[in-house]
């Protein structure tokens, strides 16, 4: 256990000693200017409330951008309006005066003395920090306009504000609130700075010393990100009064720089902390909201010229340098707004290749200074450095020893940079070996600068071997990050093999016998693709080498199945093939003519029957002659004819029920008539016979 403690202790010491690798922060650039023009777009001719108007004009002013006249006129109107209105609060007046200080609206219409006396009364009854902040801030702005402003009780005001301070350097908004806030600290310091600059002589010097201590304590509570940037933050309870670290840090920086400006003597804050905060603002890049952009730009403008330390940003315009195109290592040392630093020397203390074992490749190299572009540069190609990822440590030292006290360069600054180059690949060979391990079936030497189209064949008893040798421009062995071979079957089943390096050479040996199962017993064509790539390799490639026709044994039962391959979404969603119903074909029938011919033929027997009757000489001699029997006979035959006709009608149109109904009546009628007729005929014939 003690051993572990020591390790932790060592780690802590190491971490405090080590230089944070700074992410590259760049000073304010054109991107900010174009973003400002995009974000601060007047809506209906105005930027909104006076606070927003101030943010817009202040940002544009700091960035040196033009403001359009009509927007200024509209803003001035509302400034004059607000300043003249008796109902304006101290906050309204404060922002109106701030906008006025930028735009310089018609001063003659504004009665500054009246406003000042109004603010004095606000100040007298002030009980919370914002009251003090706005009233003192406004009075200071009036003073800056060239009017005489007298604080009746400057020392008292100073004391009242100081009373809100907490032991950890933070401030409360008013005496009743329990919450202390870093944001309030910024406001308080700005207010105190205002008191001092309005009525310097009345403020106790020892009180200023106490406030300076508070500032130092405030900076002790600073927080840091992993990339070494420093910022202020508050714990907050509600989302509504949430303030971002940017806003809080901006408030602190505004307050601290304002106070340092008016306080006699130095505020004892380490230069690294000022630099860290400056880097925090810059690391945000280009903020996407107008508020954030304003806070960033305003805080940086406070840092650009302050009495504590002016941060100088060491930055690398490019961290990826090509050795092939002989790029120069350039270092920029500027203020946060990109203004060139005072004369200084930049030294590359160390450049360590991340692959080497801590031995620096370059040491103590002084960078040349290009007056014209005010940039420090070093020609790395001439230093015979190899490709690689380097850790560069720079140190900037100001020529003027007095300036050392004014500027913060942060001592050693470390960056990581990539020196890229073209990697040569030699002795690339592809072999198919027989099962005995020695005899070579096929050997092909490869040109890896372009795709090849080899056509190989192998069976499961043979061995596949690929070897090549990458070297750096300086002839050293090179180990790329991505070195693998991909075999892709026709069915898109892929197999990836990492290629291991031994000494200088990369070699992959595939004994197919051992891979039969992994290949799912899939015989057929496999595409061979070789991937060699690295961050510092300019000619990283993906080469198609050709194809190998593998002859693998038949899969045994229970062999693993190849995983399913994704279906092409374009095919999956396409329309389906149309389906037509195949109707049952109608029955085969003879042609109509034939049927009709047979129809005619079928009447021949009837015809023959009639002819036969005629030939036989039939007569109707038995037909009764007396009227009664004649009627019965006629009725009987009509009855038979009607039954037959009914059959005919049944065929033509009647249904069964109607037919049966009619038939039943006809039947009864026919039975009766038939009985009468037939019995009469029978008796007649009996008479004839007997006679």
């Amino acid at each position: 256990m003690p051993g572990r403690g020591i390790i932790i202790l060592l780690a802590l010491i190491w971490s405090s000693l080590s230089i944070c690798t700074a992410s590259v922060v760049r000073p304010i650039s054109e991107a900010h200017r174009s973003a400002a023009l995009e974000l601060f777009v007047p809506f209906d001719g105005s930027f909104g409330s006076l606070e927003d108007i101030y943010a817009a004009f202040r940002t544009l002013e700091i960035l040196g951008l033009e403001k359009t006249q009509d927007v200024s006129d509209v803003a001035c109107e509302s400034v004059v309006d607000k300043l003249g209105s008796p109902s304006s609060t101290a906050k309204d007046l404060f922002y109106a005066l701030k906008v006025n200080s930028i735009l310089r609206c018609q001063a003659e219409t504004i009665k500054f003395e009246e406003i000042a006396s109004k603010l004095q009364t606000v100040l007298k009854s002030a009980s919370s920090l914002p009251d003090f902040y706005y009233s003192i801030g406004s009075l200071l702005l009036i003073k800056n306009q060239g009017f005489e402003v007298l604080l009746s009780d400057a020392a008292g005001a100073f004391q009242s504000i100081k009373a809100f301070s907490q032991s950890d350097g933070r401030w409360r908004y008013d005496s009743s609130s329990a919450e202390s806030s870093t944001y309030a600290a910024g406001m308080a310091l700005e207010a105190l700075a205002g008191v001092v600059s309005i009525a310097d002589s009345e403020v106790d010097k020892s009180m200023i010393g106490v406030v300076k201590n508070d500032i130092v304590k405030l900076f002790d509570s600073i927080k840091s990100y992993s990339d070494g940037t420093l910022y202020f933050d508050d714990k907050y309870v509600h989302t509504n009064d949430y303030r971002s670290p940017l806003e809080i840090s901006a408030s602190v920086i505004r307050g601290v720089t304002a106070f340092a400006e008016v306080a006699s003597g130095r505020v004892n804050i380490p230069g690294n902390k000022v630099l860290g905060v400056a880097k925090f603002f810059l690391s945000l890049g280009v903020p996407g909201t107008s508020k954030d952009l304003f806070h960033q730009i305003e805080a940086l403008s406070c840092l650009e010229n302050n009495r504590i330390y002016i941060p100088l940003i060491i930055s690398l315009p490019a961290t990826v340098l090509s050795l092939t195109s002989r790029d120069q290592l350039k270092v920029d040392v500027t203020s946060v707004f990109g203004v060139p630093a005072p004369p200084l020397t930049v030294k590359l203390l160390q450049a360590i290749n991340s692959n080497s074992d801590g031995k620096p490749n370059i040491e103590n190299q002084e960078l040349y200074f290009d007056q014209e572009n005010s940039i420090h540069y070093l020609d790395i190609a001439s230093l015979k450095v190899d490709v690689g990822k380097y850790n560069l440590i720079f140190e900037a030292s100001l020529h003027d020893p007095v300036a050392e006290k004014k500027y913060a360069t942060g001592g050693r600054t470390s960056f990581s940079a990539f020196f890229t180059g073209s990697i040569q690949i030699d002795q690339a060979e592809l072999e198919i070996l027989n099962s005995d391990g020695d005899s070579i079936e096929t050997i092909e030497s490869l040109d890896l600068s372009k795709d090849s189209s080899l056509s190989l064949s192998a069976n499961h008893l043979q061995t596949f071997r690929l070897s090549f040798q990458p070297t750096t421009p300086l002839g050293h062995a090179f180990k790329p990050h991505q070195v693998f071979l991909k075999l892709r079957h026709e069915t898109n089943v892929e197999h990836i093999f990492l290629i291991e390096s031994s000494a200088r050479q990369y070699k992959l040996t595939l004994d197919f016998l051992g891979f039969v199962e992994k290949f799912y017993y899939l015989s057929g064509k496999y595409d061979i693709e070789l991937f060699v790539g690295d961050a510092i390799m300019e000619n990283s490639f993906l080469r198609t080498l050709g194809l190998v026709e593998l002859d693998l044994p038949e899969p045994p039962e229970k062999a693993p199945q190849a995983p399913p391959q994704p279906i092409d979404p374009y095919l999956r969603y396409g329309p389906k093939a149309e389906i037509r119903h195949i109707f049952r074909s109608p029955e085969k029938r003879p042609p109509k003519e034939l049927s009709l011919a047979f129809f005619a033929l079928i009447f021949l027997p009837l015809l023959g029957f009639l002819i036969g009757l005629v030939r036989l000489g039939v007569n109707l001699k038995l037909f009764p002659s007396s009227p009664g029997p004649v009627a019965f006979s006629l009725l009987f035959h009509t009855g038979i004819a009607s039954v037959l006709l009914l059959y005919g009608l049944f065929w033509l149109k009647l249904d069964l029920f109607t037919t049966l109904k009619i038939l039943s009546f006809l039947g009864i009628f026919l039975v009766f008539i038939g009985h009468q007729t037939l019995s009469r005929l029978a008796s007649t014939s009996a008479k004839v016979k007997s006679s």
Partner: protein, 432 residues
């Protein structure tokens, strides 16, 4: 009393704002972030949403007051999770609640990065998308990376392998590559609901750039950079392993893909995220089908039953939501099935370009209970699945053909026999 009246009134006022069948575009979005600075660093994306009429509500992902629903009603129509590193959501929100939200038909945008927590990975894998399990791994591409003076690790990728779909990515082709920095994911091949919208190039792989490579789990084009999922209830999800994809910096950045001669002033990110968010929030590709009708050819009214071999006409109207109104949907691949256990007829409908699709066909000579079925599933569109039942009966006894010529000889035979019988009765009775 006044309060009682007031509340339903308020609800009525709010209702047209939200997602409904008549107005299928999301309106109220909840955006969960790790850090409220995202509001500023991703402001262009949020601004484009706001300008399209969405109301955004930002919350820290661990805010204890987050809840998606109140009294059983969802408070939001869409959820944007821009908080990759959150270990546990605050409030009542958890992984199951997010999935329930989607199951209720709401939409989700999920962006992770290399700090993706198990919670975020869990939500993704429950949606059918698996982020690389290696927590250190990011997508690296040494061949098609975006040339940058400050990024040397080739983790900033210029991806241009888009899905070919006008409905997902808009009609205007995205010319410039999309900048991507983050983790890759894979889509299960058996998952038919998830689609890779942006894939990595064949030379990409997913690994830690600082550690020695040991068998990368994801390589080549199987790496999905941005995927979308359209659930069966038409809820849409966008899942990506790059939160940076949406940043102002990437949206404004110029892009130069390594090895390409084209340098673009502006990356394709802005167009990409705008267009795909339109799709995710149902401003595009949301179809509705109305007025499914069928009738005999030449008639207007819908019969209750068809007889086999009848000729019928079928029509349906399909509209697409354009974000503000329903516009006629125009396509040439809408198909109708006449279905009983399996399709008997499958026919492509012809359109009048005003949203009306129609066709006519003959009812098959099989009777039973059929369905008119429209199963319309197209890449990126919400699926239409409609059916209407209709019985088909056989011929009635009196609907068959009478007086078949082929049977005339038989008729003739009967009638001639009958005539013969009649004559015979007379001759037989009265002949002497």
């Amino acid at each position: 009393m006044a309060k009682k009246f007031f509340c339903p009134l308020l609800l009525l006022l709010l209702l047209p704002e939200s997602f409904s069948a008549d107005n299928p575009t999301d309106r109220r979005l909840l955006i969960l972030v790790d850090d409220l600075t995202i509001r500023s660093s991703h402001s262009l994306f949020f601004k484009s949403l706001e300008s399209r009429g969405y109301s955004l509500e930002f919350r820290l992902a661990d805010d204890p007051k987050i809840s998606l629903q109140r009294y059983g009603h969802y408070l939001y129509d869409g959820l944007v999770i821009f908080s990759p590193s959150v270990q546990r959501f605050g409030g009542s929100l958890d992984q199951a609640a997010v999935l329930d939200f989607v199951d209720a038909g709401h939409d989700l945008i999920l962006a992770a990065d290399s700090s993706a927590s198990d919670l975020i990975r869990g939500i993704a894998s429950d949606s059918g998308v698996d982020f690389d399990e290696d927590a250190e791994a990011v997508v690296i591409d040494h061949v098609s990376y975006a040339v940058s003076e400050t990024d040397g690790e080739h983790t900033l990728i210029a991806a241009d392998d888009f899905i070919q779909s006008d409905v997902i990515l808009g009609e205007k082709r995205i010319e410039a590559p999309v900048l991507f920095r983050g983790i890759g994911h894979s889509v299960n091949p058996s998952n038919t609901l998830a689609l890779k919208v942006l894939s990595a190039s064949p030379s990409a792989y997913s690994a830690s750039p600082r550690a020695k490579l040991s068998s990368p789990s994801l390589t080549g084009s199987t790496i999905a950079l941005v995927s979308v999922v359209q659930a069966r209830n038409n809820a849409r999800m966008l899942i990506t392993g790059s939160l940076d994809l949406f940043t102002n910096r990437f949206l404004r950045s110029s892009v130069w893909k390594a090895g390409s001669s084209n340098k673009y002033e502006k990356s394709g990110n802005e167009q990409f995220v705008t267009e795909i968010s339109k799709w995710v929030f149902h401003e595009r590709g949301h179809l509705k089908a109305v007025n499914m009708t069928h009738h005999f050819v030449g008639e207007k009214t819908e019969p209750a039953v068809y007889r086999i071999n009848d000729d019928l006409e079928y029509s349906i109207e399909i509209y697409e939501w354009s974000g503000t109104s329903w516009k006629p949907y125009v396509a040439d691949d809408v198909q109708v099935q006449f279905y009983m256990m399996s399709p008997y007829v499958l026919k492509t409908l012809s359109t009048n370009l005003m949203g009306l699709y129609s066709t006519s066909f003959k009812v098959p000579d099989v009777y039973g209970v059929f369905q008119f079925k429209v199963e319309y599933q197209r890449l990126g569109y919400t699926s239409l699945s409609l059916s209407k039942q209709i019985p088909v009966r056989p011929y009635r006894h009196n609907e068959y053909e009478r007086f078949i010529p082929a049977a005339f000889p038989y008729y003739g035979a009967s009638f001639s026999t009958m005539a013969g019988f009649f004559i015979f009765t007379i001759v037989y009775l009265y002949n002497k």
